[in-house]
């Protein structure tokens, strides 16, 4: 009898909990009327919602771009469009999309991260060539942020590895941006030592010996450098460095090294999701419009390098266009770079374990 009673109650509890979850689910569902809802008898098209899953440093960029795009969409179709943004570490964001976060488009830091979504079966093969410039509408690079007056006289990578210089960079294991930092330093050393791997490794080792704090993400590193005044040089995304300068014009300077890396953030349509929600058309237009002159200028204003050379030229006073930029292809592509440098037991681990 007791067992029967217990079972009854167990069942009731299970039902109760499912009811609770279902109920809170409806709440979220209501606010999430996807684009597939057909217009109910009116002339005006239904309001479309898109979710753009992006990475940390692009918040300001997409805040501005989404407004521009909404205006453009209205002009083109007469309809309303709403864009939900999600930001976070690029790798983590890719993982969440792969695990079921419903994103119509992803705009991530690395091709490698988009590929992770593709590997989960959500994006079809060939997405790289779906949009112009290898689906990379804007680029960035890695620069040095130093304290005003550059007290340690840091001009190039050689100065960063000097003894007594405190370096702040996020951890390449947890931050996509930090991988660019690492590879940029590697590219410099590669050129300097003519490809002598032992010496390059020594150089990178010296660099990380100087690292005082390895924050888990780019913004944490900026915080350590700017708010807590740690270290002499911050290895940062160019756009992040400019944002810091904007906030504290009297405290910091940007130094562009002689060699850096061309960071190409990738954008893609998440095919499985747009097909399910019926938002392919809007999503395509959303990413296409990133290449328009207007959007390219917005990118430039947010300190991303526009991929359109003419627009880039308009910003030649902002960006140091003389810097020698290597690309990820010089490292044999992301898969190879990841495999060689950042997997467990890779070169980065050896530096610390050696």
């Amino acid at each position: 009898m007791k067992i029967k009673k217990a079972l009854t109650f167990a069942l009731a509890t299970v039902l109760g909990i499912s009811a609770l979850t279902a109920c809170s689910n409806t709440v979220s569902e209501n606010s999430d009327n996807g684009g597939s809802t057909p217009a109910s008898g009116g002339n005006t098209p239904a309001k479309i919602t898109l979710t753009n899953v992006s990475y940390d440093p692009t918040r300001e960029l997409y805040e501005a771009y989404n407004k521009a795009f909404q205006a453009h969409w209205k002009e083109k179709t007469g309809g309303e469009i709403e864009i939900s943004q999600s930001h976070g570490g690029s790798g983590k964001q890719a993982l969440e999309v792969a695990n079921g976060l419903e994103a119509d488009v992803v705009t991530l830091a690395l091709e490698y991260d988009v590929k992770a979504v593709q590997d989960a079966g959500l994006i079809e093969d060939g997405w790289v060539s779906e949009f112009e410039k290898d689906s990379s509408p804007y680029t960035s690079t890695i620069v040095f942020l130093v304290r005003k007056g550059n007290p340690k006289n840091i001009k190039d990578w050689d100065d960063v590895v000097k003894e007594g210089v405190g370096v702040i960079t996020p951890n390449p294991k947890t931050s996509g941006g930090a991988r660019w930092n690492y590879l940029a330093a590697w590219a410099y050393a590669d050129k300097k030592f003519g490809g002598d791997e032992a010496q390059i490794k020594k150089f990178i080792e010296a660099l990380f010996k100087n690292v005082l704090v390895l924050d888990s993400g780019a913004r944490g590193a900026t915080n350590s450098f700017v708010q807590n005044k740690q270290g002499d040089v911050l290895l940062a995304w160019e756009n992040e460095a400019y944002l810091s300068i904007q906030d504290y014009p009297d405290d910091y300077e940007i130094i562009t090294p002689s060699i850096s890396i061309l960071a190409q953030p990738s954008v893609a349509i998440v095919d499985k999701v747009v097909d399910k929600r019926g938002t392919r058309e809007a999503a395509t237009e959303y990413l296409n419009y990133l290449y328009s002159d207007e959007a390219q200028r917005i990118a430039g204003q947010n300190f991303y390098r526009p991929s359109n050379p003419d627009i880039l030229d308009e910003f030649k006073d902002t960006f140091d266009l003389n810097v020698n930029l290597v690309t990820i292809n010089d490292f044999g592509g992301w898969d190879k770079a990841q495999e060689t440098h950042f997997t467990d037991g890779g070169v980065f681990d050896q530096i610390y374990e050696g």
Binding site: T13, I17, L20, T21, A22, S24, N25, V27, S28, E29, S31, D32, T51, V53, D56, R59, E60, S84, Q85, S86, H87, G88, E96, A98, N99, G100, L101, E102, A120, G217, R219, T222, N223, Q227, L243, S244, D247
Partner: protein, 276 residues
Amino acid sequence: MDKTQDQSKNAKIVKWLLISISTLFIAVMLLLPLVTVIIEAFRQGFEVYLKAIADEYTVKATLLTLEATLFAVVINTVFGLFAAWTVTKFKFHGKKLLTTLIDIPVTVSPIIAGLIFVLTFGRQSFIYPLLEKADVKIVFAVPGIVLATIFVTFPFISRELIPVLEAQGTDEEEAAALMGASLPRIFTKVTFPHIKWAFLYGVVLCTARAMGEFGAVSVLSGHIRGKTNTLPLHVEILFNEFKYVPAFAVSSILVILAVIVLIIRSVVEYHGKKDG
């Protein structure tokens, strides 16, 4: 007589020494960080503060946080009462295993807590096709956040009740049962008066922790602005936007909410103890 006087003098010294240590500890470890949060929140003046907390997304995040907290407290209360009753009033095999399982969620890293729900309900889970067919979203949606919040606060209420009930023993309940009292009656008349303060602590602890949970929710939320952002996540987002002041302003909402809960507790406790 000398000896007792000596003793009471000693006792006084010990008393004030202990009070000083406690106060210093709390001041340094708790008060100072909190004051820092408040100072940072108001660094750019009251207007900026107001704007930050009246922001549309902040309001939505606050509502979501309250919703998740409410679910967590209700479910954990039901669970806590039954679990504490089961563990302390009966003898059975595997009791230690049971209590350990109850405690586990507190000690599971928030990262892992998020991860296990993603593994259970996410795309690589074997029940995902079922969920998808039913169009039920759990991970990266509100239910996931609620689940994670329940999980991290899971043992708080039962854990407060168990030691007290254990210390109290089972004699009174047994006597009542032998006299023929029913279960609800035994519970409300005999057991509950013993545990009401512990229960209150548990609810407060649970509420506070549920509001502030960051790690597990962060893994499960998807961070979609205005939809799946709780207050702590909103703080993180603001911080990552270099908006330090608004970030601290939003944190101060959590502090204020916590203070409200604590004041309510104090009032209830004060009246209760005066009556009791």
